[in-house]
């Protein structure tokens, strides 16, 4: 096929993909508009479960956004060439995912029309307000970082920009984890371990998302990814997934040690219905054990498809984990009078139920669509596809 013909087909395919993603985004906006005009009464959220599915999507994307930048950090900060070639794509994905996540978070507000208020009134004691600054700064720093990588004249500064971005992203994920960690009221939160746990979650989710997007891009462009590259990434992914498991175990063990937390742990681990199922089946089995086993398997693990499937499972497990953390944490009733049985018209002392509604789901998916749309367009207009020197890579991978 000559170049012109390829370009034509490729161009049409791009518009088809962009159109499809655009539609997903539009549906998301439509859902948000519906929620805003009718009020949150049309969602599954209540005065008991105040944060719902949109927050699961938003937190996943925000956490993954900071994690996906790790690929760039490993390249720039720690000087690994295979990762360095992927640094621009990693920066782009970071920006795209954060934009998608924040859009979902913003459109779920009770008053999304007051976004400007959130930008002009700051309570600096609030970790949320701090996050507004960290998120905005993240966009700026990563944009500068990408610029230093893509503009030849700026290459010299790339390392410094990369280092700042790395520090900034650690602060950002710490703050995201602290949104929950600083909630003294609820048994599921109020724990310092949530901040490092969110950082390690971001490593895992971010790398999984990166692998998925990268594989799709290579497939889309009819390119073949050097298996050696994927092999290196898969070991890292397995390590990250294992680290998330470690933090999860520590988190629950800490809770189990405190007698006052026993009832909550009983709820999540044993008789919490959907939350227990999501924890054991979704997070632990599908999202952790299976992918780790697949990735570390001597023969299966070497297969590209296995790596891609494992990454997908880790993403699925990530959603399950955040659902359990965010919604499961709210479903367990607040304990106002320890040792007493409580009941009221406001559902004191009772497990709260949450039935996510379609608009919430569509809003969340719209956010993902937005992240992918930004990526698709940016990849088309600028050179974000990893530029590997293939021979060099294979040689390096073998010696490494």
């Amino acid at each position: 096929m000559n170049i012109e013909a390829f370009r034509k087909i490729e161009g049409q395919a791009f518009y088809a993909l962009a159109g499809l993603l655009g539609l997903v985004v539009l549906i998301g906006f439509g859902a948000a508009h519906y929620m805003e005009t009718h009020g949150h009464v049309v969602t599954g959220m209540t005065n008991q479960i105040v944060w719902g599915l949109p927050h699961v999507f938003a937190v996943f994307m925000i956490v993954a956004a900071s994690g996906v930048l790790n690929v760039a950090s490993i390249g720039s900060v720690f000087g690994k060439p295979v990762y360095k070639a992927r640094a621009p794509l990693s920066g782009l994905l970071a920006i795209a995912l954060l934009a998608g996540g924040l859009t979902v978070l913003m459109l779920d507000l009770g008053r999304p029309d007051r976004l400007i208020v959130a930008m002009t009134h700051f309570n600096f004691k609030s970790i949320f307000a701090l996050n507004v600054i960290l998120y905005t700064g993240f966009f700026a720093i990563v944009a500068v970082y990408i610029w230093t990588m893509m503009e030849r004249k700026m290459h010299a500064y790339s390392k410094y920009a990369g280092f700042s971005a790395f520090i900034w992203r650690l602060a950002l994920t710490t703050a995201t984890g602290s949104i929950f960690g600083f909630l003294v009221a609820r048994q599921a939160y109020s724990s310092a371990i949530l901040a490092p746990m969110f950082i390690i979650m971001s490593f895992s989710y971010g790398l999984a998302v990166f692998i998925l997007v990268q594989s799709f891009m290579y497939l889309w462009n009819g390119l073949e990814l050097d298996p050696a590259i994927l092999r290196r990434m898969k070991n890292l992914l397995a390590t990250f997934a294992g680290a998330v498991l470690y933090f999860t175990i520590v988190y629950h063990l800490t809770n189990l040690y405190f007698a006052k937390q026993a009832a909550f742990e009983q709820f999540i681990l044993v008789d919490g219905g959907i939350f227990t199922t999501l924890f054991w089946v979704g997070q632990i089995f599908i999202g952790t054990l299976i992918p780790i086993a697949l990735l570390l398997h001597p023969t299966l693990g070497a297969n590209c498809k296995t790596v891609i499937w494992s990454a997908l499972l880790i993403v699925v497990g990530g959603f399950a984990q955040l659902y359990v953390i965010i919604i499961g944490g709210q479903a367990f009733p607040l304990e106002l009078f320890p040792g007493m049985q409580e009941s009221s018209t406001f559902f004191d002392g009772a497990i709260h139920y949450y039935h996510p509604s379609l608009p919430e789901l569509l809003l969340g998916i719209g956010g993902i669509g937005m992240a992918l749309l930004i990526t698709t367009i940016a990849v088309r207009v600028l050179r974000f596809i990893p530029q590997d020197d293939f021979h060099h890579v294979s040689k390096e991978a073998l010696t490494d």
């Binding site: 009464v41 008053r111 208020v117 309570n123 004691k125 609030s126 607040l334 018209t345 406001f346």
Partner: protein, 252 residues
């Protein structure tokens, strides 16, 4: 943070005329509620143009021994005053009756639960815009003009005192603005307090002869509430959090 929000622009030109007008309106007020004047003076002695002061700390003492299980007088009075009803999961409840039972000894109590008006309110700490704030006299409020409806305060409140307005509202009480997309909670009937009254729940409880809710100034050593807090065994709910709440309970 609320301190910096408290800063308002320095007095500007309209204020001269305003003071005149205040004079007139104060005089008119005096005439209009001649019988109420004594109440006004005794209760607070604060003129309309005078700002709430930190010399005062409003609080309530709830005697669960006098609070009957099944009695809902305070809750309905609150609903009437502030304009809400219903007990769906999406409906606002600024005050609710909680029935508690000690499983070890089988003893039961009934008590109203609402915003505890903490000295160190977690909702104020977490609010990103400063919409959640504590007034000088200890009343914790939501400034709906800058509330963006993020519901972080609802996550942070240990008492589940806050509600989110899930749908459009109509026919609000002119003194109690409420609307879709913002978070709200017990205001301690601040509009009544500013005019020398006391919260609707306390009024209703007294009017019905239960006398389970005592409202007053916790900072005034001579107030009834201070005397009782000083002499009786009273409880702060979730005292472990060290929030120094304004609503105290006795008999639990």
């Amino acid at each position: 943070m609320s301190n910096s929000m408290d800063k308002t622009p320095e007095n500007n030109s309209p204020d001269k005329k305003r003071r005149q007008f205040i004079g007139y309106s104060a005089a008119m007020a005096g005439l209009a509620i001649a019988p109420g004047v004594t109440l006004f003076d005794l209760a607070h002695g604060r003129a309309p143009e005078e700002a709430a002061s930190s010399k005062v700390r409003w609080g309530m003492l709830i005697d669960s021994g006098k609070c009957a299980s099944g009695c809902n007088d305070c809750v309905s009075a609150c609903g009437t005053e502030n304009g809400f009803s219903g007990s769906r999961e999406t409906d606002s409840q600024w005050i609710r009756k909680v029935e508690i039972k000690d499983l070890r000894i089988g003893q039961s109590h009934s008590l109203p639960m609402m915003c505890q008006h903490c000295e160190h309110p977690p909702c104020v700490d977490v609010c990103p815009t400063g919409a959640s704030f504590k007034r000088a006299d200890g009343i914790v409020l939501v400034d709906r003009h800058i509330c963006i409806g993020c519901r972080y305060c609802m996550m942070a409140c240990p008492y589940k005192a806050r509600s989110f307005v899930h749908e459009e509202l109509h026919d609000q009480n002119p003194d109690v603005p409420r609307g879709k997309g913002c978070v709200e909670s017990c205001t301690l009937c601040v509009h009544r307090i500013d005019r020398g009254g006391q919260p609707a729940c306390a009024d209703a409880c007294t009017a019905a002869g239960h006398n389970a809710i005592l409202f007053g100034d916790l900072n005034d050593p001579n107030s009834e509430i201070s005397k009782r807090v000083a002499t009786l065994a009273t409880t702060q709910v979730r005292a472990d959090l060290g929030l120094n709440v304004g609503v105290r309970y006795q008999g639990i």
